[in-house]
């Protein structure tokens, strides 16, 4: 076929027209050679090259190349070289669809954890802990798990703002170039906790260039009291490093180290090392935990004994304890030797601590003032405890904390600050009310705010610069011991965001340097020897900088006389007259931390581990206080003191201290994205610098208004086990006497089935064991599951209707008296029953059993009768009542794990033991030419992230697998086994180790 043989439509039209001639352009009318050429080229049928074989190939080549180039531009792979971990060198041969794992590190208010990020085709989808990082050991917290969603937050700041209006990057560049900083007299930097060595060195550079400038660090939830306590005890600021795994007796003075006061997984990992009971030896070694606190925390829930008291009373308790063990004399002591609960508790603690000696550990929480930290140090020293070491901060912390912020705000209001550089964070929201930060901010001529959100601070600053997400940027973070890790980006900044280091160096050096260069140059300068490049590459690969200086513990002793003197002096300052009225304590939120995660739907929908509250905070009060004040759940009250006031909904928290209210920070955000806006109330409105953690003398008044609080567990009847043997619990003593006590808690009849029982004797048989003694209830597994399995966020309204979708949930039950209850936590994934009640009732066989013992769910076969969910005794099946992905912004879809399908409305979904991971590993094994899967080779998402290593998954057909061994433990039981359902997920009963003197 050629053009000369086959005249095309065009040529017919232009050349052989009979009758009236219609023309479309003057060119056509004239029928110029140009026109003919144009026609010839325009229409492929006429294009001469297309007819030539070689040319067609050229076209195809060109197309392939341009497609490739198009793909290249769409791909956000960073230009810089980042190194994958976990899959070793093998992964350097990129195969489409195969995930890459990169190491990185995350800092959260001074807690630094090394992470491993799974990326699919250049987009991060899942965060795991880095097993090589000592603060992670392979685990990750709920916050860390959820932070991957932040990359795809549709409401993230994407544009430079000037005075709240959209501006261009060149405008900003010009503005920064114009800054007349001189000697820096009017220059102030305000950042969060600086844990980045690079940023610290840039800070040094900045302060060198602008000697009169100041750099203030402020965190709404900080470790400042810890340093101040060491200053008080030892005369120098030091970080305390408790060795939880060495301690036999732990006394936590308002320290939720298993929960929110330690947002790093290794605390829990270390503590549970000596908690776990898998042998008789373990039983002898089992630690004992005493908790003294106001709000019910996870540490209180896991404690063997818990004493509730107002946050401000803990100081006196610490003094009494110090006095009783003889650590510090000359203190004002009250309430020792009585017969009340506190006195008995104190006496028992003292006796236990003394007996433990070197294995005793007293820790003070970050909310407690310096004196309590100092007292704890003194007690540990007196007892000869070897369970705590101290190190000097590698990064200077001299201008950090609320007082520094207050001073800065004063300077700002006084007009002494002409240029304020806010490097991340949202101080306009998190600053205490009395600093009037927003007002002060408006007095600053030029304020630059670097932030991930267009938040309250962005609204008040003259310039707002989008900040790159942790997973988009180069950086480094050092733990408090000084161990550094490199933060690697997984993706180029989606909105062109910058990092704190970039902005700091920009201001100082006057030109922009990429964070990669800043970080790399810093570390190349630190490295010694001639293999610097290799060291850098190894640091990237391992996720820890081997050469970073881990500071050695300092040998210090408490000067008790000086301490006693200082304590008596500070008593007046710290212990405000216990004025009448209510004490309000300020706590981190398990969902938003200090508000930085407010727009994270995964976290907003993760229930508080104790109250089970989602999508909001509440003023938590004790049952007695609620009765005294005639309050019930959902009553809106005003909490006021002086000129600060806030309206808050009340929630009754069993076990809370009386006459005290606890509120979670991080809610009531006004300038926030779609998820966090207007959720809960803003506790910062009543937080003042003199009552930073505990504010006294608050008045509580009922407004008559009501608010609906959404909890995932029914309040009241659903809070207790109703005498059922679901969470089986005993004491170490009971277990010693009768190891069969767990089994005896329910009678499991023999199964007589008319069907022949299916034999699961062959091949891999997946099973799970969950150790309730180790599990703290931290929620990390819940969020890990959401991230791994693409479970949707449904929102407050749907949660109120009981339609939350978590495939693994954390059940919480109270036992005992409502004033002093104990709490048990129980993670509930699917039990993968061998005789699954859900399977036989499905009319269309959408849920069936796999030969490997999994209760599989075929989403595309499900018609949605919900019969399976009704018949599931554990209620672990979740139905898509609506299309929960309907209003989802497109960018958020990038977070999904491509190995797991996203379910449509009208179908049931459930835990599958991460079947995608099982299959992936099986395929890999097959590729390697082996049939056996090694024990521990497959980890479910919940298991992998569990800081307590409480969840163990594996092949129960292999008698040597860890899960088989755990299931052989006498503590092992299957929940509701009496139904004949043969659950594959079993539990190891919870053991506590109470002091016999206190249980009588």
């Amino acid at each position: 076929m050629s053009s000369s043989q086959t005249p095309s439509l065009i040529t017919i039209q232009t050349q052989n027209v009979t009758g009236k001639k219609y023309w479309r352009s003057l060119n056509q009318l004239a029928d110029t050679p140009e026109f003919q050429e144009w026609v010839h080229r325009e229409f492929p049928a006429n294009a001469s090259e297309m007819l030539d074989g070689n040319s067609r190939r050229t076209v195809l080549k060109l197309m392939a190349a341009s497609f490739g180039l198009a793909g290249l531009t769409a791909c956000r792979r960073p230009v810089e070289h980042i190194l994958p971990n976990a899959m070793g060198t093998e992964a350097e041969n990129y195969a489409p669809g195969e995930p890459f794992f990169y190491s990185t590190v995350m800092s959260q208010s001074g807690h630094v954890t090394g992470l491993m990020v799974e990326t699919h085709d250049g987009r991060p989808t899942k965060i795991e802990g880095n097993p090589d990082h000592p603060h992670s050991l392979g685990a990750a917290t709920a916050f860390q798990q959820a932070s991957v969603l932040g990359v795809y937050d549709p409401d993230r700041s994407a544009k430079v703002l000037n005075g709240g209006k959209e501006a261009k990057w060149p405008d900003l560049v010009a503005a920064i170039a114009k800054l007349a900083l001189g000697d820096g007299a009017g220059l102030r930097f305000l950042s969060g906790f600086v844990s980045s060595p690079t940023l610290a060195s840039l800070r040094a550079d900045a302060l060198k260039k602008y000697p009169k400038a100041k750099w203030v660090e402020y965190e709404a939830l900080s470790r400042d009291n810890e340093l101040a306590g060491a200053q008080l005890a030892f005369g120098q600021p030091l970080y305390a490093h408790p060795k939880w795994d060495k301690a036999k007796i732990v006394v936590a003075l308002d320290h939720d180290f298993l929960g929110l006061d330690a947002p790093s997984p290794f605390f829990t990992r270390a503590f549970t090392k000596r908690r776990r009971v898998e042998s008789e030896e373990d039983l002898e070694k089992m630690n004992r935990l005493y908790a003294v606190e106001s709000q019910f925390s996870l540490t209180g829930a896991n404690a063997d004994h818990r004493l509730r008291m107002k946050g401000s009373d803990v100081r006196q308790f610490a003094a009494d304890l110090a006095n009783a063990v003889g650590a510090v004399s000359g203190l004002n002591v009250v309430g020792n030797g009585g017969a009340d609960k506190r006195a008995k508790f104190l006496a028992a603690v003292v006796k236990d601590l003394k007996a433990a000696g070197a294995e005793a550990l007293v820790v003070a929480g970050p909310r407690q003032p310096a004196s309590v930290h100092a007292l704890a140090a003194a007690i540990n020293e007196k007892l000869g405890s070897t369970c705590v070491t101290y190190t000097k901060p590698v990064i200077d912390k001299s201008n950090s904390g609320v007082e520094a912020l207050k001073a800065l705000a004063g300077e700002m209001s006084g007009g002494q600050v002409s240029t304020l550089v806010i490097l991340g964070g949202n101080p306009a929201y998190t600053a205490p009310a009395d600093t009037q930060f927003s007002v002060a901010l408006s007095k600053v001529a030029v304020s630059l705010h670097l932030g991930q959100e267009v938040d309250e601070t962005a609204a008040g600053a003259t310039w707002h610069i989008p900040e790159a997400h942790m997973l988009e940027s180069w950086g480094d973070e050092a733990t408090s011991e000084g161990l550094a890790a490199i933060q690697q980006p997984m993706i180029e900044p989606m909105h062109g965001g910058k990092t704190a280091a970039e902005v700091a160096s920009w201001i100082t050096a006057g030109r922009f340097t990429k964070s990669h260069d800043l970080v790399k140059n810093y570390w190349l300068a630190q490295f010694t020897g001639n293999k610097k490049e290799e060291m850098w590459r190894k640091a990237l690969h391992d996720g820890v900088v081997a050469a970073s200086k881990t500071t050695d513990p300092v040998k210090v002793t408490v000067d008790t006389r000086k301490l006693a003197a200082a304590l008596t002096a500070t008593t007046a300052a710290e212990a405000k007259p216990a004025a009448s009225g209510i004490e309000v304590g300020f706590y981190p939120s398990s969902s938003t931390w200090d508000g930085r995660f407010a727009n994270n739907g995964w976290l907003q929908e993760t229930p508080d581990p104790i109250s089970k509250l989602v999508w909001g905070n509440a003023a938590m009060v004790s049952p007695k206080t609620a009765r005294d004040q005639k309050l019930t759940d959902g009553d809106v009250v005003t909490l006021s003191r002086g000129n600060v006031k806030v309206e808050a909904a009340v929630m009754v928290q069993p076990g809370h201290a009386d006459d005290a209210v606890s509120v979670a920070l991080g809610y009531g955000r006004e300038k926030c994205g779609r998820a966090g806006k207007g959720v809960g109330f803003n506790a910062n409105l009543i937080r003042t610098s003199d009552g930073f953690y505990f504010g006294q003398g608050f008045a509580l008044a009922i407004t008559g208004k009501r608010e609906t609080l959404a909890t995932t567990q029914e309040r009241g009847a659903g809070d207790t086990q109703n005498g059922r043997p679901l969470v089986r619990e005993g004491t170490a003593e009971e277990y010693k006497k009768n190891p069969k006590f767990v089994e005896e808690m329910s009678e499991v009849p023999e199964i007589h089935s008319i069907y022949p029982e299916f034999s699961y004797a062959q091949g891999n048989q997946w099973g799970m064991a969950i150790d309730l003694t180790a599990c703290t209830g931290c929620n990390a597994c819940v969020v890990a599951c959401v991230a791994e399995n693409n479970t949707p966020v449904v929102g407050k309204d749907q949660v109120l209707r009981g339609r939350e979708m978590h495939w693994i949930r954390m059940d919480r039950y109270y036992t005992g008296d409502e004033n002093d209850p104990q709490v048990v936590e129980q993670p509930i994934p699917c039990m993968q029953c061998e005789n699954a009640p859900c399977e036989n009732v499905c009319p269309v066989q959408a849920t069936t059993h796999s030969p490997e013992g999994l209760n599989d769910m075929a989403y595309n076969r499900c018609v949605g009768t919900r019969y399976c969910a009704n018949n599931c005794p554990f209620k672990v099946r979740h139905f898509n009542f609506l299309n929960y992905h309907k209003n989802e912004p497109e960018v958020q879809g990038l977070v999904y794990n491509p190995d797991v399908s996203v379910r449509m409305r009208g179908v049931m979904e459930k835990c599958t033991y991460c079947v995608q991971r099982i299959e992936e590993t099986k395929i890999k094994a097959k590729r390697d030419g082996r049939r056996e899967i090694k024990d521990g080779e497959i980890k479910t998402a919940c298991q992998q992230t569990c800081p307590a290593e409480a969840i163990v998954f594996g092949n129960i057909n292999d008698p040597n697998s860890r899960v088989s061994k755990l299931k052989k433990q006498e503590r092992n039981y299957a929940m509701l086994a009496e139904l004949g359902i043969k659950p594959r997920t079993t539990y190891l009963a919870k053991l506590r180790n109470p002091n016999p003197e206190l249980t009588v």
Partner: protein
């Protein structure tokens, strides 16, 4: 059988069942309603039909909304996977039971008094089953895939259904029931349709009734075949009366949910179904009797007999309630015990006590003859019985599901307006269908009642029996 037949108390010979002077008058009386020539259909009828049809339209709107949005428009949640949807399903299926019982079982037992009420009772059955059928279809998350429940080629996989699932049994039981009931009803209609055909004054009517009456000429052979067919259908239907609701009860009884998992359910559900079905027939008949002046055909005798059945089945249901409580206690099973304690005294106490009041206490009035013969009493009881029976299903479903094994997943069910409007809509559909039926088809089986008229002449008089 013969002993039963000769028992004068059961023969119901005295007083006469129906009062009509002769065959002609009877034909005239019934046909006039259908033909609407002599007695003009009152405007009230059309107004009522308009109202019920509008409510049916509401049903359509609600179902449309459900289809485009999802089950989430209802109040169903976790743990309450089934709520008003299945409550309404069981409720309507239950109502349908009286029809088959009256047409089949009472027929086999030669209960002649059934003749005046069987036609409308059967029609009611069909309409109730239609209403019932809506719920299992639309309660699925993906109704456009609901056909996968039928054993027809489906999907590329061509998977079979799961025959272990009671829901599949339901599909078969209900569809069989509907088919047989429809056949039975239509067979019974044939002679009457022929009567109407013969009386037709317009061509349209002639054609329509002509086609429907299947060439019925009333010959002896026709009658012979008809009676045989009717008897066979009655024999086929009889086990269905027991099977349908037994199988519906299996949805619950075969599950593990405390409060559902109980062997008493099949008889308990069947009795409850007949109880509610008779009450519903009673409600409709009383209204028809008043509005259409059928006092001579639907006599106090009919009504009293039905009240007796209501009393019996109500008592069976009450016994089942008591038995459940006893077994819950006697089993020693903590979950069972809690469920029944929770049923009576938990958050749904109001629903449970409404049910006990309506089903257990109120029908006891029927021990008194005076009450059985009081039209107002029986009208009110017929209504309360159905309220009670709706609550029974709701209580069984909601109290059991809201609080089962793990207290952590306990919840509560709040219906939405869509739930309410959908249920109201099915009532509208039911009434619409019934109104259309009452106007366009003979509500009373003319040929069968004629048989009863004849019987009156050829049976023993009371005194004859006494002297024998």
């Amino acid at each position: 059988m013969s002993a039963v037949l000769q028992d004068p108390a059961l023969m119901e010979v005295n007083p006469p069942l129906v009062r009509s002077t002769n065959y002609h008058d009877l034909t005239e009386q019934i046909s006039a309603i259908v033909e609407g020539d002599v007695i003009k259909t009152p405007t009230k009828y059309w107004i009522t039909l308009g109202v019920t049809a509008s409510i049916t339209g509401l049903l359509g709107a609600m179902l449309g909304y459900l289809l485009v949005t999802g089950i989430g428009v209802w109040g169903n949640n976790r743990p309450v996977g089934w709520a008003w949807d299945i409550t309404n399903f069981v409720f309507w299926i239950g109502i349908g039971h009286a029809g088959t019982l009256i047409s089949a079982i009472l027929f086999l037992f030669r209960q002649k008094w059934r003749t005046s009420i069987n036609r409308s009772a059967e029609a009611m059955t069909l309409f109730a089953v239609m209403c019932a059928g809506i719920f299992p279809l639309f309660h699925t998350g993906r109704p456009w895939r609901a056909y996968w429940l039928f054993p027809i080629p489906n999907t590329d996989l061509n998977l079979w259904q799961n025959f272990r699932s009671p829901l599949i049994w339901d599909v078969f039981a209900v569809s069989t029931y509907f088919t047989v009931s429809a056949l039975f009803w239509f067979t019974g209609l044939v002679p009457d349709l022929a009567t109407l055909r013969d009386r037709s004054t317009t061509r349209v009517k002639q054609v329509v009734f002509g086609l429907l009456s299947l060439g019925w000429r009333g010959s002896a052979r026709h009658w012979n075949n008809y009676e045989k067919a009717y008897l066979i259908l009655a024999a086929i239907s009889t086990p269905l009366v027991l099977s349908v609701h037994s199988i519906v009860s299996f949805d619950f009884a075969t599950s593990v949910v405390p409060g559902w998992h109980t062997t008493i359910f099949p008889p308990y559900f069947v009795a409850g179904a007949i109880f509610s079905g008779f009450a519903c027939v009673m409600t409709l008949l009383l209204i028809a009797r008043w509005t259409l002046n059928l006092q001579n055909l639907i006599t106090m005798k009919h009504l009293e007999n039905m009240n007796k059945i209501i009393l019996v089945t109500g008592s069976v249901v009450s016994y089942a309630y008591a038995c459940e409580f006893f077994i819950a206690w006697y089993s020693g099973n903590i979950y069972e015990r809690f469920t029944f304690w929770n049923r009576a005294f938990g958050p749904y106490w109001w629903a449970a006590w409404s049910m006990y009041t309506c089903n257990l206490i109120i029908p006891q009035l029927y021990w008194f003859k005076k009450m059985r013969n009081n039209l107002w009493v029986m009208f009110i009881i017929s209504i309360t019985t159905n309220i009670g029976m709706w609550f029974e299903r709701f209580v069984i479903i909601a109290t059991s599901l809201t609080r089962d094994f793990l207290p952590s997943s306990w919840g509560y069910f709040h219906p939405t307006y869509v739930d309410m409007c959908t249920f109201a809509g099915t009532i509208g559909l039911f009434l619409t269908l019934f109104l259309v039926f009452a106007r366009f088809l003979p509500m009373i089986a003319i040929s069968e009642v004629k048989g009863v008229l004849a019987v009156e002449k050829h049976t023993f008089k009371g005194e004859e029996v006494a002297t024998r």
